[in-house]
Structures are given as C-alpha cells and as structure tokens.
Symmetry: C2
DNA sequence: GTTCCTGCAAATGCTTTGCAGGCAG
DNA sequence: CTGCCTGCAAAGCATTTGCAGGAAC
C-alpha cells in the first residue's frame, strides 16, 4: 500500500535528482530505484527488504549498492534511520517529524503524523537536541481480534 | 554514576536470586555480576560494555556468557532491550516507563525520567493504547566535542 | 576521456551456538 | 553426583570495504 501518491513520489524523486546534481553526484538507475522503494513504503523496510524490491526491476543490483545508496540518501537528509528493536536497521523516507504506533504483540509499526507539540529545550543533559519521536505502545486491531478469539475459545 | 542506590541494587539482586531459584536456574557469580552492572548504569550499555565492566571483577568471564545471561534476564523480565540507533543492541534494567535521549552520532542512550504528560486517547487508529516513550534525538557532549575538533582541523 | 559508481567478494563487527570441562545444587 | 553453566572457538548474520570494470557526464 502506498502512503503517498505516485505524483508525490515523482516530485520527491525530482528533488532527489536536483540534490544529486547540486552535489555533483551521479544519477544512476539504482539510486533512483532505491529511493523510490523507500518512498513507496511506510513500513520501515530493512536494507535487505529494499534490496529484494529493487532486484525485481534490476536483477543484477547488489546489496552493497543498496547500503551505499541509503547512506547517500541519509547524508542528503532524504532518508532517516529508525530506532528499532531487532537485528537490522530500518529506514524511512518520511522526513517530516512523525511518530510511531507500535504493536506490542506483533511488532507492526504505523506512522502517526499527529503533532504532540512537545517543547524541548535546545540542550538536555548536555545533548544538542535535534528532534524527537513519540513511540506509542499498544495492541493493533488484528491482535485485539486474535486476543478476544483466544479468550472465547480458551486457547493458549 | 549510579542512578539507584546500592541498597536498591541489593534488593533487586535479591529478587533476581529468588526468581532464579523459583525457575530452577543456578545462581552463579557471573549472572549476579552482569545484572549488577546493568542495574548500576543508566546509559544502556551494549553487551560488550557490560562484558568489560564484569571482566574487572572476573577476568576470565566470556562475552558469550554475558550475552546468555542478558537473554536470561530478558526472559525473567528484569532487563529490556531498548530501541537502538547504532550497531549494537543496548540493554536497560530500568523497567519503569521512561524516555530516551539518543545520540545520532554514536548511539549512546540516556534515560530521561521527566514526565511529558502526554494525553493519549484510549484508542488510536484502532490500536488499544498502553503506554508511550519519547525518543529525543541529538548529539551527545562527547560527539559535539569531536565535531568541533574536526571542523577546526578541516579534516574529512 | 575522466571520474564516480557498481558488482563482486572478502573483511569486519556483533551475536549466537557446539562442545567439553567445571561448578552449583 | 547430576546436569546446568561457563569459556573457548567457530559459525552465523548484517554491514562495510577494496578493487577492477563500467556507466554517467
């Protein structure tokens, strides 16, 4: 499921291309494909997941290129690393400040764009504050349903 | 710096020992030492950092034991894996609801016990809300110093 | 044509696992 | 004593890096 329209993806890709030009970076099909995959998903894929998606269009792409492209995108501030629980780093092309709704049963993460209006100081315990993200823990609709079924049937 | 008193650490270790007994787990000096190190720190050490600390008292301890002990502590719900930023998983023996100050350069995580007083609805996008944690991103004092040094010397 | 980027493969770093001996109970 | 736990070493993954050829400009 796309969380932004194809037109918006195209616009963002155009901005990426402009950013590359202005930085003297080359615009390669692999770079565009990696960014498009990241833009088209709101489920915070791992590098490997992006790789599998890109491979559908460019079967000879290498995982190393995906990692290198993501690093470039991070430096251009077009992609952010998402703090996460698990073994792999996850990435997010949604650059606007937003928050995460995490299911404590199945681990699914959903974006929340609500503004909590937190007033953070510029400095906190000596840290130079850059931004924040609220992680809300809860049970997703699917898991709630599973729970109620389970209690009805006395299973597990 | 200790964020809880020695008495509190002792109490928590006693609870851990009781939990081990009730589960049929053996109480070994290594296990106690790993838990004590985790209790005594609020900076969410990596397994390696715990290992280095434990090694001061038990020079022959192995990193594998530290990993296995942390896994045991997680299963006993005495230690939590925290959302991480860098390359290693970080652990936390503070089980109460609290927030995190994360360095985007080196991944260090500091506890913030400040109450942000967010009023979350009971339901959000169909999720049954249970709690939240604020992740504040920034640059820690050590990394700020490194950054200013680098710009002074025009390196990289 | 020049330089940067890519694919491949090897290296690195973090974490897990198999095994034989040792210690807690 | 018995069997779980430990230390060691090797294996298993995720990610990074070196290098030679190829593509972008």
């Amino acid at each position: 499921m796309l969380y932004i329209s194809l037109t918006m993806i195209k616009d963002k890709v155009d901005l990426f291309i402009k950013a590359c030009r202005s930085m003297g970076l080359r615009i390669t099909p692999q770079r565009v494909a990696v960014y498009e995959v990241l833009l088209s998903r709101d489920d915070h894929p791992t590098a490997e997941e992006v790789y599998n998606e890109v491979k559908k269009r460019y079967p000879f792409v290498s995982l190393a290129t995906v990692y290198r492209t993501i690093e470039t995108l991070e430096q251009l501030n077009l992609v952010k690393r998402v703090a996460y629980w698990g073994n792999s780093v996850r990435y997010d092309a949604n650059i606007q400040e937003h928050h995460h709704l995490i299911c404590t049963k199945c681990g699914t993460i959903k974006d929340v764009s609500f503004d909590f209006g937190l007033n953070l100081p510029e400095k906190l315990y000596g840290y130079k504050v850059e931004g924040y993200s609220v992680h809300i823990y809860g049970v997703c609709p699917a898991c709630q349903q599973k729970e109620s079924l389970r209690s009805t049937h006395q299973k597990n």
